[in-house]
């Protein structure tokens, strides 16, 4: 269980003011869950993820993973970045194997595991390609395979599909669901898209900005239905899906309006 307990973050802004980026956020990510954070730009989603990853210390509060406090980045939390961060001097295979190399796994063993992971994301034919020979969606898939390689307890993903076109995005969502289902990993996933959040999450949290807080939580099972029936259209056209979409849209707009009124 990953537990975020009353986490607050204050940044120093330029003119000696402070920015209250995260305000007493509490959240738990139990075994096997897929938690999606949703909210407008600047509501502290990346801040929350960076704190979970250990890139950013908290001002107040605590984050624990399976009982241990998080005090820095580590291989027990795999991160998929929005911008692709593949190393240009390594082949796709060696990029995926990077975490295993850090862990001291022998060359043959780590290449074999990396090949398995490339197969999982459907890129087994590109093992020897250089990163710059891949498309944006393919690079993002390599990023997912790389994050999975050291067998982390949880996958943290910051708008990984934000830069993709809607068709590739749907394919990537299905791919991610099958990765989630097959590997049984917990996933914390950030997005701007309400549809994406509803389709993927077993739990959706909606955040509002200034200060960043969680304003609504939904427990969902569309993704479980999808795993069972593999019928995306039926899910996205169902009345329940549409009703939830409108409800969340109203919450997002309302928090936006409140903020405007406050300014």
């Amino acid at each position: 269980m990953l537990r975020v307990d009353h986490a607050s973050v204050y940044f120093a802004a330029r003119d000696k003011r402070t920015i209250h980026a995260l305000d007493k956020v509490s959240l738990t990510i139990p075994e096997g869950s897929f938690v999606v954070a949703l909210g407008t730009s600047g509501c502290g989603k990346s801040t929350l993820l960076n704190a979970m990853a250990g890139f950013l210390p908290l001002s107040e509060g605590s984050i624990t993973l399976d009982g241990r406090a998080i005090d820095g980045p580590g291989a027990d939390r795999g991160v998929v970045f929005q911008k692709d961060t593949l190393l240009p001097w390594k082949s796709v295979l060696d990029n995926v194997a990077l975490g295993l190399k850090f862990a001291g796994v022998s060359r043959a063993a780590r290449q074999e595991r990396a090949r398995d992971l490339l197969r999982l994301v459907g890129l087994e034919d590109f093992a020897d390609a250089a990163p710059y020979e891949l498309s944006g969606g393919m690079r993002q898939r390599v990023g997912i395979a790389r994050a999975l390689a050291p067998d982390p307890a949880i996958l943290l993903m910051d708008e990984p599909f934000g830069a993709l076109d809607s068709m590739t995005r749907e394919q990537m969502q299905e791919l991610l669901v099958s990765v989630w289902q097959r590997s049984g990993k917990r996933i914390f996933f950030i997005t701007h898209s309400i549809e994406e959040a509803l389709f993927l999450g077993t739990q959706v949290i909606v955040m509002s900005p200034r200060p960043g807080r969680i304003v609504a939580r939904f427990d969902l099972d569309f993704v479980k239905t999808f795993v069972r029936d593999r019928d995306e259209r039926a899910i996205k056209t169902s009345p329940l899906f549409a009703a939830l979409r409108e409800e969340i849209r109203a919450i997002v707009h309302q928090s936006e309006d409140l903020r405007r009124a406050a300014e």
């Binding site: 850090f102 990163p131 710059y132 050291p150």
Partner: protein, 284 residues
């Protein structure tokens, strides 16, 4: 209503055309070779030189003709100049440049990397480096002679000092331009400090370091003549200086041509090394 536009039907008898291979368009000069343009420029300059010297537009004492320079080169190649063969002059200079390069890189790369990574290293080394590197080598040449004598040590030290700064500064810049996300990525994959340095920092800084070495080689050749002002009896710089005392402009020209050839060869070698070590440069 739906319209389906039929795809071109490929029949077995179609000749398979050779596809036109394409590549991403670059910015600036792109990948087309500039060799021809450079050669034409060189030939034009030679002709211009010949015309100016031959017509007496410039007094003969100041500007020898190309033919005279060639015959001077042949004479020096055969009999040497100033009590040493041409090869002895060249090897003496190469020896100095090489020794200085080795010293400058062996000290410069680690110090530069340390300055990019560590506050203490930056604080300590910044002051002396920022103080000395804008100085012209000729300004501290007398100190070198007083402190280190007139042997090889003072010459090599002078060269090494001049070549050290560009390498330090480029290694430092290489570390500083490392994207934060790349570091976070490695840390979240479980990299230790040492692994982070070896697998991420060093390769990321490598292109800039190689550029620094190229610049420092240029600076080195530029300082050579100054270094060989110090009571040398061998060296291309020495050859040029002693020829200038006798107004032997043709020998000066030969010396310049030799230095240019050496410098060009070095820069070509560096470019090959770059292509071999950092083939990914500019590709992501």
């Amino acid at each position: 209503m739906t319209t389906i536009i039929a795809q071109d039907i490929v029949t077995a008898s179609d000749p398979t055309p050779v596809p036109r291979l394409v590549k991403m368009r670059g910015f600036g000069i792109g990948e087309g070779s500039t060799v021809t343009i450079s050669l034409v420029t060189a030939i034009t300059l030679l002709i211009l030189w010949w015309v100016v010297a031959q017509t007496g537009l410039v007094a003969h004492l100041f500007l020898p003709t190309p033919a005279e320079v060639v015959s001077a080169a042949a004479a020096i190649f055969q009999d040497g100049y100033a009590n040493a063969s041409l090869w002895e002059h060249v090897s003496a200079s190469l020896m100095r440049i090489f020794s200085a390069l080795v010293i400058a890189t062996v000290l410069g790369i680690p110090i530069g990397l340390a300055m990019g990574l560590n506050r203490w290293a930056k604080g300590i080394f910044d002051t002396p480096i920022e103080f000395y590197w804008p100085l012209p080598p000729l300004a501290y040449l007398p100190l070198m002679i007083i402190w280190l004598g007139i042997g090889e040590t003072s010459k090599i030290t002078l060269l090494a000092l001049a070549m050290f700064a560009p390498i330090v500064l480029s290694a430092q810049a290489g570390v500083r331009s490392l994207p934060r996300e790349r570091v976070n990525m490695a840390l979240s994959l479980g990299a230790t400090r040492l692994q982070l340095f070896r697998e991420i920092v060093l390769p990321s800084a490598l292109p800039e370091i190689l550029t620094g070495i190229r610049i420092s080689l240029g600076v080195g050749w530029g300082t050579l003549v100054a270094a060989e002002l110090i009571a040398a009896t061998r060296g291309i710089g020495y050859m040029i200086m002693s020829a200038s005392h006798f107004l032997a402009t043709d020998v000066v020209f030969v010396g310049i041509a030799v230095i240019a050839t050496c410098a060009f060869t070095f820069s070509l070698a560096m470019r090959l090394i770059e292509r071999w070590l950092v083939p990914w440069k500019g590709k992501s």
